[in-house]
Amino acid sequence: MNKVKVHLCHKEVVAEKDNTMKKAIIKIENLKREFTMGTETVHALKGISFDIKEGEFVTIMGSSGSGKSTMLNILGCLDQPTSGNYEIDSVKVKNLTRNELATIRNEKIGFIFQSYNLLARTSAIENVELPLLYNSKVSTDERRARAIKALEMVGLGDRMDHTPSQLSGGQQQRVAIARSLVNNPVMILADEATGNLDTRTSYEIMSLFQELNKQGITITFVTHEPDIAMFSNRTIVLKDGNIIKDYINENIQSAANELAKLPKQDD
């Protein structure tokens, strides 16, 4: 693959060279999204282009109203762009039906939400199994085996039968991460995944993300917290529906180290 051009409003940035050899998981070209509110048309995204390569850990940043959520919805195949091109894992998303979008979400994307969105009164393992219930290609035995493996990856191998109410916030988010991993997605899409957590726990979660990323999992993390960005290897900053910055993080912090620096808690 050759160099990737990232179109911005008035300037062009050339992305890091070591990324160029890898396959692009996400290809976005001149993406626009408009909402009609009564008589007014709101331009949430005003022609955005970027690629995400396999194995990248990208933070998409922006304050509220920047088009961040719209971006997330489109990336997550929950919404369709008004114009422009969006490809995930070489599948053109434009003009897909509701059901086809559901299949893409089921097979290619792992979602993580701010409020975990676990099913109440349902054990961790059953929560993790959930995406596979909607994939008829996965047998009951395989489903169980994959859920156990995913829970072990997030360090909850001993909490499989706990329900969300029996787990701490951090543990709940780990279950949600396991759920996002269980379908072997091409990309994990996290929406303010540490937003409901205290600093210590959020560093723990970030360190888990870094570990998963090291194992080759592509992660796109949408957030408005600047300190999260320092754990990722690339940051895209949105403002008013445009990309104002897209840079490679030269100085990636280790979340595990940051965690160690925090004053000890005894609880």
Binding site: L78, N99, R105, T122, P131
Partner: protein
């Protein structure tokens, strides 16, 4: 595979909301149970009417003198004396569809034995009467044609009369009783028949040769009734027509004249009673159906609340790959499971209460298989019908909005 998974999801949701599910089911349970119990009561009463009428002799035909006009005055049927022995003889000679026939004269009076007495009815008949009424003898024997011819003073009495005038339990056969001061020799006792459908005590009778009753008690020579039985229940309507024609000729009625007699078969009675109890059944079932409908609305209500309450869950399921159809099926299966489980419990409760009604209230009941099948089918349909709309609504949710729903 996929359906099995959805089934599991739905079952899980039901188990997680036990109390609510049970309360929702209650509507269906009561609905189904009442439909079954009501139908059982309806069927039971219909059946008991049918059996009691056929116990009276379902192919019985009664001929009575009809209302007529004398000198411009309409006369009551009972005072008419137009039915005579020659009518009876004509019917007996000419009819082809009757197996038995008997003249009937009847009167009321006091039965006396020693110091005991009892008001009763006396029926003057011929020996075929027992075959017409389908009643046997408990002891003794029936009088014979010879007794009829000679107008002998012999009688066969019913159980109620026996109990009333032979209180010390002695065998009445061979004893003398008096009816309106005419002495009769008891030669037989009828077997117990109980009350008929109209509450008349069928054992409170004295049966004697019609000639004896005509001459010695009533002092008349006409007949009150002629009773006959058709060769079969199916032939009864034809027999009625045949008898009518014989009597029209016998009474020299022209084509323009109305019948001056009445011929009735039990057929009419059966259908009258059946239709009455059918009406009752329809009414009961209508009431029960309304409660089933309300049960269905209960399901819809709960499913509606459930969809609202689980909007975020629906959003999540969609985000991780559930299609609209999956969500639709999940909620539909849930509704159907609730209604079918409710249906099963309802059937059990219905059968239970039927047994209870039969045992403790002594109402006749009869559970028809079709009532179970129908109420069960209605249940499943209710589940689909009332589950569809909320499920449809759930499946049409926009995943983004659903996920953000608080």
């Amino acid at each position: 595979m996929r359906l099995l998974n959805l089934f599991k999801i739905a079952t899980k949701a039901i188990i997680l909301n036990k109390t609510r599910t049970l309360l929702t089911m209650l509507g269906i349970i009561i609905g189904v149970a009442s439909v079954i119990a009501m139908l059982a009561i309806g069927e039971g009463s219909k059946e008991s009417i049918r059996t009691s009428i056929s116990a009276m002799g379902s192919n019985m035909i009664t001929i009575k003198a009809g209302a007529d006009t004398k000198g411009g005055v309409k006369q009551e049927a009972s005072v008419m004396e137009s039915l005579t022995l020659s009518d009876y003889e004509a019917i007996k000679a000419q009819s082809t569809l009757l197996s038995y026939s008997s003249p009937v004269v009847e009167g009321r009076g006091q039965v006396i034995n020693g110091s005991s007495n009892w008001p009763s009815s006396i029926y003057g008949v011929n020996p075929e009467y027992l075959n017409i009424k389908v009643v046997g003898l408990q002891s003794g024997s029936m009088f014979t044609d010879v007794d009829v011819k000679t107008a002998s003073k012999v009688a066969v009495i019913g159980q109620t009369v026996v109990e009333s005038v032979f209180p010390d339990g002695q065998d009445p056969v061979g004893q003398m009783i008096r009816f309106n001061n005419i002495p009769f020799k008891v030669i037989g006792v009828l077997e117990e028949k109980g009350e008929n459908t109209f509450g008349q005590d069928q054992d409170d009778v004295v049966i004697a040769p019609y000639t004896t009753v005509q001459k010695r008690i009533l002092a008349i020579d006409h007949l009150n009734q002629i009773m006959a039985s058709a060769i079969s229940e199916e032939k009864a309507p034809d027999a009625v027509l045949e008898v009518s024609n014989i009597l029209r000729v016998q009474h020299k009625l022209t084509d323009s004249d109305d019948d001056d007699f009445m011929v009735r078969s039990m057929e009419e009675l059966i259908s009258t009673f059946s239709s009455t109890s059918e009406m009752l059944t329809i009414l009961l079932v209508a009431v029960a159906s309304i409660s089933l409908l309300i049960g269905g609305i209960g399901i819809m209500n709960i499913m509606y609340v459930s969809v609202k309450e689980r909007t975020k869950e629906i959003g999540l399921r969609m985000a991780v790959g559930a299609k609209g159809a999956d969500i639709l099926m999940q909620f539909l299966i849930e509704a159907i499971l609730i209604s079918i489980t409710g249906g099963v419990l309802g059937v059990l409760l219905g059968l239970g209460s039927t047994v209870f009604i039969e045992k403790f209230l002594n109402w006749p009941t009869s559970v028809a298989l079709y009532s179970i099948v129908i109420s069960f089918a209605v249940c499943a349909v209710t589940g689909i019908f009332f589950g569809w709309y909320p499920a449809r609504k759930a499946s049409a949710l926009d995943p983004i909005t659903a996920l953000r729903y608080e």
